[in-house]
């Protein structure tokens, strides 16, 4: 038991030290650099290519490719957390007693030794000044007390004693941030999904893993639109989404970047988009002999008969990068013409060159009149029940930092001593931080007292 006690004391002593805090903060700062230099969570093949086999293995042992989730980085954070908690508990009991004292103790002789002490002589006896001085001093301070002395009086006043607790608010905020992060990583998920226009999904892929996460509702993308600036940079991308429960629509919203859809604690963000191969094309068939053009709408895979009895045409598909005799001709539809008599012929209908089919010198010229562009929308789908704890931490941190840095516990003492038929007045003050600020506080009070 005794052994355990001393063991605990040693442990406490280790965690209560500010040296540990400083070492941990600097270690976190230094090690965090690694993950900004080595791209995180990439394909192993890319790493091997970039670093070679030996360094790939070495880095992999230390989890450098996913370092912020690695055991040693998380351990540093946990050590810092314990350090913060232990330091706070250790000092809080003392601070608490100082903060919530009923009758604060003042010691005149201590104030007399302060370097910011100011003195002046005022006409009249101390008794005449007492009540006036009391009102002046108590105005700017939350607490004030007057004590009579042998040859006069002493006014003690103070304010903002509670700001001594500010630093614990900051520490609490860090604890809240970490709790929020733990809640988020255990009960939330971060996934993404690409949905083609008109389609719906019931599950999403989890980022940086091969897992999928099922949703208990369906997300359908009814429509997607992208607009561009004149420079060609994207201006806005917008998805019209519908949430369906048991195949019944329950919610409809257009989302853009920075304006997500939220449903049942799950957030759906517009993240990216991309083109899909078109499924429908309008083709023009120009018959050489009659010179008449016929316009037809076709779906991929559809077969139609060519006008004027010239056979059939099948729309085979679409390719992003077609090549013709070794030349890249870009996006093209591919079809097969089967003439009424003769051999069937595969033809390419590149979007860039409308009269490409002319080269074939057939009795019908096929060209692309137009096609419907299709997109898929890239959605980020996340759930983070810890986010409100994190936000509370954010608010506490800002308030705590402000109090800790800029509001100080100020104590002043005004001493009046009878000196002949006049009064000698001494004023001095202390504050737990911002000593320069205290000097200006004293200067302001003197102005009022010495009027």
């Amino acid at each position: 038991m005794r052994y355990l006690q001393s063991y605990f004391n040693e442990l406490w002593k280790f965690f209560v030290s500010v040296k540990l805090s400083i070492s941990l903060l600097l270690s976190l700062a230094a090690t965090s650099i690694i993950g900004t230099v080595i791209p995180q969570n990439k394909n192993p093949a890319e790493y091997v290519k970039a670093f070679g086999d030996f360094f790939y293995r070495l880095f992999d042992v230390f989890d450098f490719f996913d370092m912020y989730q690695s055991w040693w980085f998380q351990m540093l954070i946990i050590l810092l957390l314990i350090n913060i908690i232990v330091c706070s508990i250790d000092r809080l009991s003392k601070t608490w007693k100082i903060t919530f004292v009923k009758n604060p103790k003042f010691n005149v002789s201590r104030f007399r030794t302060l370097s910011n002490k100011e003195e002046f002589i005022k006409d009249g006896a101390p008794e005449q000044l007492k009540s006036i001085y009391e009102t002046i001093v108590s105005k700017g301070f939350g607490y004030s007390r007057t004590e009579d002395t042998e040859k006069g009086f002493c006014i003690f006043a103070e304010k903002w004693r509670w700001t001594r607790l500010g630093v614990y608010v900051v520490h609490l905020s860090i604890i809240l941030l970490l709790i929020g992060a733990v809640i988020g990583s255990n009960f939330g998920f971060d996934g993404f999904v690409n949905i083609p226009e008109g389609k719906g999904v019931k599950s999403v892929r989890i980022s940086n893993s091969a897992e999928t996460h099922p949703l208990d509702f369906e997300i359908r993308c009814d429509d997607f639109n992208v607009t561009f600036y004149e420079s060609g940079a994207p201006k806005e991308f917008r998805s019209s989404l519908t949430i369906l429960e048991n195949s019944k629509p329950v919610l409809q919203k257009n989302i853009i970047v920075n304006d997500p859809l939220r449903y049942k604690g799950i957030n759906i963000f517009q993240s990216s988009y991309g083109p899909l191969p078109p499924e429908e094309v309008t083709l023009k068939f120009t018959i050489k002999e009659s010179g008449i053009s016929y316009v037809k709408k076709l779906l991929i895979g559809q077969q139609i008969s060519i006008p004027e009895g010239l056979g059939t045409f099948v729309l085979k598909g679409f390719t992003k990068s077609a090549a013709f005799r070794g030349h890249a001709i870009g996006e093209s539809f591919i079809g097969v013409i089967e003439p009424a008599n003769g051999k069937s012929n595969e033809i390419m209908l590149p979007l860039r060159f409308p009269s490409f089919d002319d080269m074939r010198k057939g009795d019908v010229l096929v060209s692309v009149e137009g096609y419907k562009e299709k997109y898929y929308t890239g959605l980020q789908v996340t759930k983070d029940p810890g986010v409100w704890v994190v936000y509370a931490g954010f608010i506490f941190m800002i308030i705590g930092c402000f109090i800790t840095f800029f509001i100080s516990h100020q104590r002043i003492c005004v001493e009046a001593v009878k000196s002949g038929n006049k009064t000698k007045v001494m004023i001095a003050g202390t504050s737990n931080k911002n000593k320069l600020g205290m000097e200006s506080v004293i200067a302001r009070i003197i102005k009022r007292l010495n009027r």
């Binding site: 500010v18 040296k19 805090s21 400083i22 903060l25 600097l26 976190l28 700062a29 965090s32 650099i33 993950g35 900004t36 230099v37 791209p39 995180q40 912020y68 992060a181 971060d190 600036y229 420079s231 940079a233 994207p234 201006k235 806005e236 991308f237 853009i256 970047v257 920075n258 304006d259 997500p260 957030n267 963000f269 517009q270 993240s271 980020q380 789908v381 996340t382 983070d384 986010v387 994190v390 936000y391 954010f394 941190m397 800002i398 930092c401 402000f402 840095f405 800029f406 911002n434 000593k435 320069l436």
Partner: protein, 279 residues
Amino acid sequence: MNSSNLLSIITFVYGLAAFLYIASLVFKRSLPGKLASVVLLTGAIGNAAGIILRWQESYKLGIGHAPLSNLYESLVFFALTIAVFYLIIERKYKNRIIGSFIAPLAFLTMAYASLSPNISDQIQPLLPALKSNWLIAHVIACFIGYSAFALAFGISLVYLIKQNRKEDSDSILGRLPSVNVLNELNYQLIMFGFLFLTVGIITGAVWANSAWGRYWGWDPKETWSLITWFVYATLLHARMMRGWDGKRIAYLSIVGFMAVLFTYFGVNYLPGLHSYGSQ
């Protein structure tokens, strides 16, 4: 005259102010110093006017947005905050000597923005990810923090120079504020900067959560801002709890500002989401 022209002129105004501050320090005359303050103030007013003008121009182009959306605009705003902060400190501490170290920072920032061939001063339309009310709060908070750290950096340099020499009231060094004042000022500025860096990181996190669905993603810029935060947190703990003073604090302040610079510029060379800041 458009905003880019005006801001190019401001570069030279800042340059003149820097020159005058240094002249006042070297020749031990107060006249150039007084002139320097007026010139710097003129520069700051022109700088602010340039930002407002640019804001209006963007609306005339039909792509109206606050001029805080790319590297050029952020540098221009950075220069303004440095100049304004310095002028406030000059008034409060009634000492122009520090100006010789700070005014050149404002000048260099503006010169880099106006003259670097890699930085475009064109008003560009806003990318979808930047269309958010958080943009203004996030950028302003970050740059107020950065400039406080920049000033603390300048003061730390002055501190180290002065610390290493003997006191001599007649020399240039003798007319610098006392080591204690420098030390205190350094500390005050760092607290101020730390609060605004914290607000900047937090507004960024809230924004990221509304744009990408996560408040923290270990993106290089995010990570570097956190590294900066760790460095200054170390400094504050060392000073508040261990009573570190003077030299060691000044060195930490310099390291902190290096981290700020890397967060601002260096990260552009790393892959990540904050690419808008690089052009």
